[in-house]
Amino acid sequence: MVAPAGGLKAGDLVRRPPVTITPQATLLEAVDKLVEHNIGALVVVRPEEPDAALAVISERDVVKALNMRMALSSPVEAFMSPGVISVEASEPVSRAAELMWRYNIRHLVVTKGGRLYGVISIRDLLRPESLKSLCRSQ
């Protein structure tokens, strides 16, 4: 990846379309989807509005649901973290790092024009190209 002038933008770190799930899907379906895609978080969307992020469910949300002894048949909406912390694709990676740090989260929804575009993780921010942009911005 070649860093554009002014450093990488949050959108530059998005490498694939977001993996989504509906609020009515079950905890077990969420588990299967996380494993199938080998990722740490899913974006919750309604089927009729697939590019509007309602929430994110992360591995931590699943672990907390298990700790509460929720059944694997419970719907996603029963344990998803409400609200979405997001960053626009055109914002600098330093903004993404700041949000993850401040909100103590590992995944950030990236939007383009306010619509769901992708998800970035801490791992993406710690790649050499990202670190170069982060370091330069300090």
Partner: protein, 139 residues
Amino acid sequence: MSSVGDLIKRGPVVASPADPIIKAVKLMADNNVGSAVLVDGSGRPVGIVTERDVIRGLARGARLEDPVESIATMGSLVTAGVKEDVYSALRKMRNRGIRHLVVVDEAGALRGVISMRDLLEDFVIKRLGERVWWPPPED
């Protein structure tokens, strides 16, 4: 401040390999951390279990009553020394595709765990960035 030991915020969250998975789940949830270190009778680290291990285990049909060692990474732990540079720790995580490193002191005793999140702190990013621009010779 740029060594691994500076990033340890708390004592390690530990469980025994024979404990049920639900105990590790409770430890992680109650402490708001993503992993628990599995220790033997004398407190030596022998494995690690992460949130991802729990989720993979469930997908395979593991039950919360099963011993945690059935889903954990046992043996050949990837560790970092307390005096190790943070950039070296990041390289270990990247090379192994892992998010947590067990931190040990010079005697090999368990001191804590660091995660990728710990590397996001400003002073760490600064150090990591310097190392990416001016990598040490072994790179």
